[in-house]
Each structure stands twice: as structure tokens, then as C-alpha cells.
Amino acid sequence: MTHILAIDDSRTIRSLLTMTLEGAGFEVTTAIDGVDGVNKFREQHADLVITDVNMPNKDGFGVIEDIRASDTNRGVPVLVLTTESGPALKERARKAGATGWIVKPFEDESLISVIRRLTGA
């Protein structure tokens, strides 16, 4: 099963993601902040990572940088979950190493189709 690591400090968003993604047949692991996210990434293989930007301890860009510098699975697709949109965000996400970005609030279908495309699931 395609395994997704979802990192967001908002409990609400975590539950929403879990519900949406598990409903679409993905296996979901959640992490509550950047540090937790990076730890979980190192502990278990993820086929795709979704991360919030603004988080305590380590922000989403920091998470992506860590993932891209990691020993294993550094090429994993990483989606940034953000309330912002626009060129500036895109630029920053790109620079940090994000594969793509999803603007909150997201549509279930488009999120799922993006994930399917990026993971081939």
C-alpha cells in the first residue's frame, strides 16, 4: 500500500488528511511538527510526504531540506500544504526542494489525484 507521511501541527488538518487519504486507500502516518516529521521519515519508508509550512520546532521547508539531505529515500515526492499561493511561495518551496504544493483548503479529489500521479499509485 502506498504510504504517506503527513506532517501538520494542526490536529484538525491531520484528521482531515488521515480521513481523506485513508478513504482513498492510502496508508497514512501523521507527525505533529517538523522534528517529529523528520524522525518519522527516517524511521519508516514513505512513498510521499505532505508537510505544512508553519510549524513549531522545524518548519516545512526545514523538513524538506532534511529529507533531501537524508541518506535514504531522499528523492521522495514532497507536497507542501500551505494557505498561501503565488509565486513567492512557489519559489521558496522549490528552493527548499518541494515537489509540489497544495493550497489549503484543498479539494479531496485534486489532492488524491496529485498524490496518485506523483506516486504512480
Binding site: 501541527d9 494542526s10 490536529r11 484538525t12 488538518i13 484528521s15 482531515l16 480521513m19 481523506t20 505533529i32 511538527d33 522534528v35 517529529d36 524522525n39 527516517r42 524511521e43 505544512d52 508553519n54 510549524m55 513549531p56 533531501r68 541518506d71 535514504t72 528523492g75 521522495v76 515526492p77 514532497v78 494557505t83 498561501e84 499561493s85 503565488g86 509565486p87 513567492a88 511561495l89 512557489k90 522549490r94 526542494g97 518541494a98 515537489t99 509540489g100 504544493w101 493550497v103 489549503k104 483548503p105 484543498f106 479539494e107 479531496d108 496529485v114 500521479r117 506523483l118 506516486t119 504512480g120
Partner: protein
């Protein structure tokens, strides 16, 4: 997105936490710690609320949070300075945000009259261009499409040419997946161009993008689906999408970025994926660091969310356990078993364990008063603004833990008392200066745990209670007779009498149609008591004493007319077996207890509860000297007292409704049910009766209304 009600509820619960974090941060900022970390924490709280609120289409909340967040962002990037003015506006914005969350929770529209001015104030900190930058512009996919000016013929397919850059791979994209996705769109032919591959294997850099592809997809009339596939990739691969029909004739400049494509192979199934995987893992550039598995970090601190009903069930069961334990103890004692010393030692262990379980279960329901106190910060701020007074609210003992129900039910009484203290207690700045006091008034809200009780104090440094004025008003309103001689304490407690209000006119602030009597009722319902101490010129302190738990209390077992009952230990000052000389008659039915030179009214409990008055002489009975609010000290006459014991309080509201003078019931060790007496209610019934007897009818009428 999903609209599962349980997730919406989880959102509001999370909002509560976020509002607490927000308030905390704002307080720190006000105290001069507007450092990056604090500002960031506040920003994150607002940001999280906004982000999640968007999922539920709570537009008013999102709109406000967005503006709030934009200002915080400016502060974070040091384009704004955390001066007094900005901090004030941020505080108000925090209050409004909390309101909007409440409104959304109750599913009612926001009060724009309150929201809009703050929104405008937030806006005033933003220059127009900030606003532009922050405007949510929907990112539009900007794939390079050629405008070849062929409006007349709909295309019959597209040729997609793309060459990923090194970055493309680094960012986690996979050409095989893209090509597979394109192949799903229609009949496809795929050419791969390998000419950029280095001829020497040693020159191969795995991270470089050597390959490019050209894919023809037949049967498509728009390129929207293709663009969709290349979402996120507009800068990291050279991409052209051109309609198939015109390729031969039209100039294809865009393809200049691509090397000339040699059709190498007709791609049918995805052989690229394995190839690519090999290339990417080729040991050309081995990692300098050995791959060592890090030890698993300890998991972040988590909290467990439990349905309160489950905890209540547990509390109930533990209550039964304690009762059961005392039943067993009593049965064993009655059985008078030989050699039972060990058995009783074991029983003590059982008792100890039961008590420990009970404390543990109670601790689950315990919550710090901090969030409650923080709400009071806001109440105080608003009250100070509304009255034009300068008041500082100091909170102490925020970590004190109280039962969840108590925290919830204390909000209203505390709000009222804080408003009262600011409205009536603390003087206007000019009066304070005249009285040689600092211009800024101080209000201290503290919580502490003292010998099994929680004490919450609200202390102002205002003018203190004006007792003669209070008595005048009480007489005026018919609450006491004009010739009544009242002790200071009795006068103070007139504040809690229904229908009493000291303000000459009911002010907008502390009026609102409720008086301190409502405060008292709320606290009494929680099994607590309010005491007042005042020092003319130096201020007034209200002390609320609450039991630590609502479910268990220490009680004195008594009998009245052959009924076993329980009186809370907390209200008993002492027990007295009177001598004949200690009891004095007053009129026909009233008796007084003379104790240490003072006379205290005696209340016959049996009579008050509607039983036949005991035939026993007062000297054969026991008097419980109790502290009550209605008539200060009084003595409850009961037939006998037994031991002192912890009892589990069971509410009778659900089964019998409210019974004046009885606060609940408990099950005793022998399995019998005993009523728990509320001495305050008993005393006030008594006080009312006395009033009816002595006052004229009009006064009684006022009281009753």
C-alpha cells in the same frame, strides 16, 4: 473537503488550545517579550486557525484571521514595531478571533459592528502593497504553450516535448510516472532522446538530467489534462505542448530549447522506470557517509483525548467502589470475627488502594485554571476600557488544578465578580490620586489549594465596601427592616441578596440584570462558599472556597428524628453539647445558644426539614455550630452525631428535582441512603421565615419577586 461533524468539533477543540496559546503569546508580548519566538508562536496560532477554518468554509473566521496574520507577519519580518498601539490592537484582534471561533461554533453570524472596526485597525498597520502581496492570488499554471494562432481548427492531438533538469529529479519527480500519466490520455507514441548521455560512463552524474522525451498524444482537443500532469514543473523542465496538426508546417521555436530528437524507440510499456531507477542508484557518486540507522527518537509528548462520559462513568464506578468498601468494613465489624487483625490490615490496604484509584480518576478531570484566568484578563481589559479606569489584573496560581466542571461553571461568576470589582470596587483615576493611591488600580485573581479546598480570591485595591450605604440600600429595597441591627459580616453578605445592586443606576457593565445573588447560587451549586473581607480605603477581597472534587466530600454523620443524614464537615465550625445555661429562649419558638459570650440562633433541623420537632430537650441534643452566608453563624440542632466519613455525593436533581436544604444524597456503609444537608440553604430558609414574621408584607413581597 470533508464535513464530518466530529472533525469540526475537533477543530473547535483545537481552536480552544490555539486561542490559549495566542493569548499567552500576546500577554508575553505586552510584557515586553516581543521576541521572534513569541511573535512566531502567535502567528502560528492564528495561521493554524485560518488554515483549518478554511477547510470548513468558515469565511468570516478565515477573513479576519488572514488580516490578523498579515499584520503579525509584518511584525515578524520587523516591518512593524511592537509598540503600545500595535499591541493594543493585537490584543483586541485576539479577543475578536476568539469571538469569531465561538460564533462559528454556535453557527451564528459574526457581529460585524464589533469585528469591522478591529479589522479596519489591523488594516491601518498595513500599507497598500503589503495587502497586495498578501492577497490570495490563485496560482495559475503557467506551462509554456505556444500561441500559434490557429483559432479555426480544433487540435486533434498534442506533441509534448520535455526535458527534465537535474532539479526535476532532485525534487522527487519521476519522468516514468509522467509518461505513464500521459499515455493514459490517449493513443501515445513516445520517443526518448539519449544523445546527451555522456559517452564515458565515468562522466555520468546521476543527478543530471540527460534524457528528454517527445510524446505525441492523439485524440485530445485541449491541453488542459496535459498541463495538469505537468503541474508543479513549469520551471524545472523544458516543456512545450503544441497541437499535433501544425507541427510540420509551423515554426516551432519553442523546441529550440530541446535538442533534436532522434526517435530511438517506440515506447510501449514503461521500461523507463526500471532503467531510470538503475541510473539513479548507480554507484557513481556513492554517499560519503555510511548509512547508519538512527535510533528511534522518543515520541513527542502526546495527550490522550477521552470522551468525558467515559471518565464520568469511571468516577461513578470508583464512587461505588468506595461505598462498597465501607459496606464491607461495616459488615466485618458487625460480624465480630475472631482473629480478624490481619483481615482488618488487609482491609486498610483495600481502603488505601480505593482512595488512590479515586484520586487518580479525579486527576483525569482536573484542569489548570489558567485558561479561565486568561479569559478574565480580557474581561478585565474590557471592563477597564468601558469604565475609563486603569486597571491591572494580576493572576496567581494559574497552575492550580480544579475539576473540569468547576472550571467551566466558574467562568460566569468570575466574570461578574471581576466586572463588579472594576465597576464598583476600584475608584476612578482622579479619585485614586486624591486618595494618595497609584493611578492604576490593581486586581489580583489568585487560585490556591488549601487543606483539601480550592480557594479563589478576587482582591481589588479599591475603596472597600461602604457598609452604611449597603445597609441603606438594603432597607430601601426592603431586604432588611430599618431597625435591624446587623453585624459587619451580615451587611457584607447583603450584596448576595437577590435584587440588591449598589450602583445608583444599573450600569451597562456589571448590571445586565444579574446580581451577586446569581454568583452566589452558582458557587453554592458547586458546593462552594463565598466570603467577603473588606478594608475601607484599601480594598475588598472575595474568597471563593470550593471542594477539590465534586464527587466526594467529608461529612459528619448525624441523626435527626431517626433519620440518618450527612452534614458537610467544611461548614461545621464546632460541635457543642449544650448545658442548660447555654440555651436561652427568645419569644415563643426561638432559642439561642450562648457561646463565648455571644448569642447564636438555634435552628431545629428536624423542624426545618418538615419533620416533627424532636421531643428531646435541647440539652440532650447536639448543636452543630455552622458558618452560613445568610445569618453568619448559627447552630443546627440534631439528635446525635456519629463519625466523620468521606461520602460519595450523588445528585438527586435528576430524580427528585431541587429540594431546599438538601444538596444531595449518599449511600452509607450499611447500604442505607442518607440525605446530605446544605446548612446554607437551611439557614436562609430560616432567615426568610424570620423576615416574614418581622417585616411588613410589602417587604416580603419585594423579596419574593
Amino acid at each position: 473537503m470533508a464535513h464530518d461533524p466530529s472533525i469540526l468539533e475537533a477543530f473547535f477543540e483545537e481552536c480552544e488550545d490555539l486561542i490559549v496559546a495566542l493569548t499567552e503569546g500576546l500577554i508575553e508580548m505586552r510584557e515586553g517579550h516581543a521576541d521572534a519566538e513569541t511573535v512566531n508562536a502567535v502567528f502560528r496560532a492564528v495561521h493554524s486557525i485560518k488554515g483549518a477554518a478554511g477547510a470548513f468554509a468558515l469565511d468570516e473566521l478565515v477573513g479576519f484571521a488572514h488580516k490578523f496574520e498579515t499584520v503579525l507577519d509584518e511584525l515578524r519580518s520587523q516591518k512593524l514595531k511592537a509598540d503600545e498601539k500595535l499591541l493594543r490592537v493585537l490584543q483586541r484582534a485576539g479577543d475578536i478571533l476568539a469571538d469569531l471561533v465561538d460564533d462559528a461554533r454556535e453557527d451564528k453570524p459574526a457581529n460585524r459592528d464589533v469585528v469591522d472596526p478591529v479589522l479596519a485597525e489591523l488594516q491601518s498597520f498595513l500599507s497598500p502593497e503589503d495587502e497586495d502581496a498578501a492577497t490570495e492570488e490563485e496560482f495559475v499554471f503557467e506551462a509554456l504553450t505556444l500561441d500559434v494562432g490557429m483559432p479555426d481548427a480544433a487540435p486533434t492531438g498534442y506533441r509534448v516535448s520535455f526535458q527534465p533538469s537535474a532539479e526535476f529529479y532532485a525534487l522527487g519527480h519521476d519522468p516514468a510516472l509522467i509518461i505513464t500519466a500521459l499515455m493514459d490520455l490517449g493513443e501515445t507514441s513516445v520517443d526518448v532522446n539519449l544523445q546527451d548521455l555522456p559517452s564515458e560512463f565515468a562522466d555520468f552524474e546521476w543527478s543530471q538530467g540527460y534524457l528528454s522525451w517527445q510524446i505525441d498524444i492523439a485524440g485530445l482537443t485541449t491541453d488542459l489534462q496535459i498541463q495538469d500532469i505537468f503541474q508543479f514543473m513549469d520551471d524545472i523542465c523544458a516543456l512545450t505542448i503544441v497541437p499535433l496538426g501544425i507541427i510540420d508546417g509551423a515554426p516551432i521555436q519553442a523546441l529550440d530549447t530541446l535538442p533534436e530528437c532522434d526517435p530511438v524507440s517506440e515506447l510501449t510499456d514503461p521500461p523507463i522506470a526500471p532503467d531510470l531507477a538503475e541510473v539513479r542508484t548507480a554507484p557513481v557518486n556513492p554517499d560519503p557517509e555510511p548509512t547508519t540507522q538512527r535510533p528511534a527518537k522518543k515520541p513527542a509528548a502526546t495527550t490522550l483525548r477521552v470522551d468525558p462520559e467515559r471518565v464520568d462513568r469511571l468516577i461513578n464506578a470508583v464512587g461505588e467502589l468506595i461505598i462498597n468498601q465501607s459496606v464491607i468494613s461495616q459488615r466485618l465489624e458487625e460480624a465480630e470475627l475472631p482473629n480478624s487483625a490481619e483481615l482488618f490490615a488487609d482491609l486498610d490496604d483495600y481502603k488505601f488502594l480505593a482512595r488512590e484509584i479515586q484520586e487518580g480518576v479525579m486527576a483525569i478531570r482536573a484542569q489548570p485554571v489558567k485558561p479561565l484566568f486568561q479569559r478574565m484578563m480580557r474581561i478585565a481589559r474590557e471592563a477597564a476600557d468601558a469604565t475609563g479606569k486603569d486597571v491591572e489584573l494580576i493572576t496567581e496560581g494559574e497552575a492550580t488544578e480544579v475539576d473540569k466542571t468547576v472550571v467551566e461553571r466558574l467562568a460566569d461568576p468570575l466574570t461578574h465578580m471581576i466586572r463588579n470589582a472594576i465597576d464598583h470596587g476600584i475608584e476612578k483615576p482622579e479619585d485614586r490620586i486624591a486618595a494618595n493611591k497609584p493611578e492604576q488600580g490593581q486586581l489580583r485573581l489568585s487560585a490556591s489549594q488549601r487543606s483539601g479546598s480550592i480557594v479563589i480570591e478576587i482582591a481589588d485595591d479599591g475603596a472597600g465596601l461602604n457598609r452604611s450605604r449597603i445597609q441603606d440600600i438594603a432597607v430601601e429595597k426592603g431586604l432588611v427592616s430599618p431597625d435591624a441591627s446587623l453585624s459587619d459580616q451580615e451587611i457584607d453578605h447583603l450584596l448576595f441578596a437577590p435584587g440588591f445592586s449598589t450602583a445608583a443606576e444599573v450600569t451597562n457593565l456589571s448590571g445586565r440584570g444579574v446580581g451577586m445573588d446569581v454568583v452566589k447560587t452558582a458557587i453554592t451549586t458547586l458546593g462552594g462558599r463565598v466570603a467577603i473581607s473588606t478594608n475601607p480605603g484599601f480594598g475588598t477581597t472575595f474568597s471563593i472556597t470550593l471542594p477539590v472534587t465534586l464527587a466526594v466530600m467529608d461529612g459528619m454523620i448525624i441523626t435527626v428524628s431517626d433519620q440518618t443524614m450527612v452534614v458537610p464537615i467544611s461548614s461545621i465550625l464546632e460541635t457543642v453539647r449544650p448545658n442548660k445555661n447555654d440555651v436561652a429562649k427568645l419569644g415563643m419558638n426561638n432559642e439561642l445558644l450562648k457561646i463565648r459570650g455571644e448569642y447564636v440562633p438555634i435552628i431545629d433541623l428536624a423542624e426545618q426539614l418538615g419533620n416533627q420537632s424532636s421531643q428531646r430537650e435541647m440539652v440532650d441534643r447536639v448543636l452543630l455550630l455552622v458558618q452560613t452566608e445568610a445569618i453568619a453563624q448559627c447552630a443546627l440542632a440534631v439528635d446525635d452525631i456519629f463519625d466523620q466519613r468521606q461520602v460519595v455525593v450523588k445528585s438527586m436533581l435528576g430524580n427528585y428535582g431541587e429540594i431546599t436544604g438538601v444538596s444531595g444524597a449518599t449511600i452509607l456503609g450499611d447500604g442505607k441512603i442518607a440525605l446530605i444537608i446544605d446548612p446554607d440553604a437551611v439557614a436562609s430558609v430560616m432567615a426568610n421565615k424570620t423576615q416574614l414574621n418581622t417585616d411588613n408584607g410589602e417587604a416580603a413581597h419585594v423579596r419574593a419577586s
